[in-house]
C-alpha cells in the first residue's frame, strides 16, 4: 500500500499549510513572524564620518526557545518581576529570514545584496525535497489565506540575532503572526538539528 507523500497531500491543502495565531500578545514568542527587521552588518567611524551598514529583511521568524522568552519577559517587564537579580535576561533574540520560495528556486532571493544562490529546480527532485522539508538547511512554509505572505522558505544558515529591546519596541508595528505550537516546534527541532549537524571529512 502506497501512502501519499507530503506534497501529494498538499494538493488537498492538508500538510504544507501551517496554522497561525494572529493575536499580538505583549511578549515576544517563539514562532513570531515580524516584517522589515534590520540586521546591523557593521558600524565604522573614519575621520569623523560614521557609517552604518544594515540589511533590511522583509520577514523573519523568531527561533529562540519560548521558555527563555517567557522568562526574559517576566524578569524584564512583568509588573511583579524579581528585583534581586536579572539572571534570566536574554541579550538578543535568534531569528532566521523568510525568503519568497519562488526567489529561492531561481536562486536570486539575495540578488539585491549582490549574491547569487544555488538554483533549485522547482519541478524536479530538489524542488520537491525543498517543499517536503527534506533539505536540512531549509524549511518550507505555506501560510493560510488570511496571512499576506506567499509560500516562503526559512533559511536556517542565515540565522542572526536581533536586539531584544529593539524588537519589543517595534513589535506592534512589525508583528505579522505567530506560528502555532507543533508547527513552530517542527521548525525549532529542524533548526536545532541543522545547527548541531556534524561535518565529517570527505
Amino acid at each position: 500500500m502506497k501512502f501519499p507523500n507530503r506534497e501529494e497531500l498538499s494538493l488537498e491543502g492538508v500538510l504544507l499549510m501551517v496554522r497561525v495565531r494572529k493575536q499580538n500578545i505583549n511578549r515576544i514568542r517563539q514562532g513570531d513572524i515580524f516584517k522589515q527587521i534590520e540586521y546591523i552588518e557593521y558600524v565604522s567611524e573614519v575621520n569623523g564620518i560614521i557609517e552604518v551598514s544594515k540589511i533590511l529583511f522583509p520577514y523573519v521568524i523568531v527561533l529562540t526557545q519560548d521558555c527563555d522568552l517567557q522568562q526574559d519577559f517576566t524578569f524584564r517587564w512583568a509588573k511583579r518581576r524579581p528585583k534581586d537579580n536579572q539572571d534570566k535576561l536574554l541579550l538578543s533574540v535568534l531569528v532566521a529570514p523568510l525568503y519568497n520560495a519562488e526567489h529561492v528556486y531561481s536562486g536570486d532571493h539575495l540578488s539585491d545584496l549582490g549574491l547569487k544562490m544555488q538554483f533549485i529546480s522547482k519541478k524536479k527532485t530538489p524542488g520537491k525535497n525543498l517543499r517536503n522539508n527534506i533539505m536540512p538547511r531549509y524549511h518550507y512554509i505555506e501560510f493560510p489565506p488570511n496571512i499576506p505572505i506567499v509560500p516562503s522558505v526559512i533559511d536556517f544558515k542565515h540565522y542572526f540575532s536581533v536586539n531584544l529591546e529593539y524588537l519589543k519596541k517595534v513589535k506592534n508595528e512589525k508583528f505579522v503572526c505567530n506560528i502555532a505550537p507543533l508547527y513552530r516546534e517542527d521548525i525549532s527541532q529542524r533548526f536545532a538539528a541543522f545547527l548541531s549537524r556534524i561535518g565529517l571529512p570527505d
Binding site: 569623523g48 564620518i49 533590511l56 519568497n100 539585491d112 505572505i149
Partner: protein
C-alpha cells in the same frame, strides 16, 4: 574564523556625540525606512541600507 574561536575587544567606553545622519541606499538614493514600497502579497527581497553621518562636534 573557526567554530570555537573566542574573541575579545577593548572596551571603548561611552562617548555621546551629536551626529547628523543622512540616509541613502547603495545606489545613493535618499530613502526613508517607512516609505519602502512593498507589494501586499509578495515578499520583497532583503536589501542593504547604508547610513552615513558626520560628527557635528568632530569627536569620535
Amino acid at each position: 574564523m573557526n567554530k570555537g574561536d573566542i574573541f575579545s575587544r577593548d572596551y571603548v567606553g561611552e562617548d555621546q556625540t551629536d551626529i547628523n545622519m543622512q540616509v541613502s541606499d547603495e545606489k545613493g538614493y535618499s530613502s526613508d525606512l517607512e516609505e519602502i514600497p512593498e507589494k501586499d502579497y509578495e515578499i520583497s527581497k532583503p536589501r542593504r541600507i547604508i547610513i552615513r553621518g558626520r560628527l557635528i562636534n568632530g569627536k569620535s
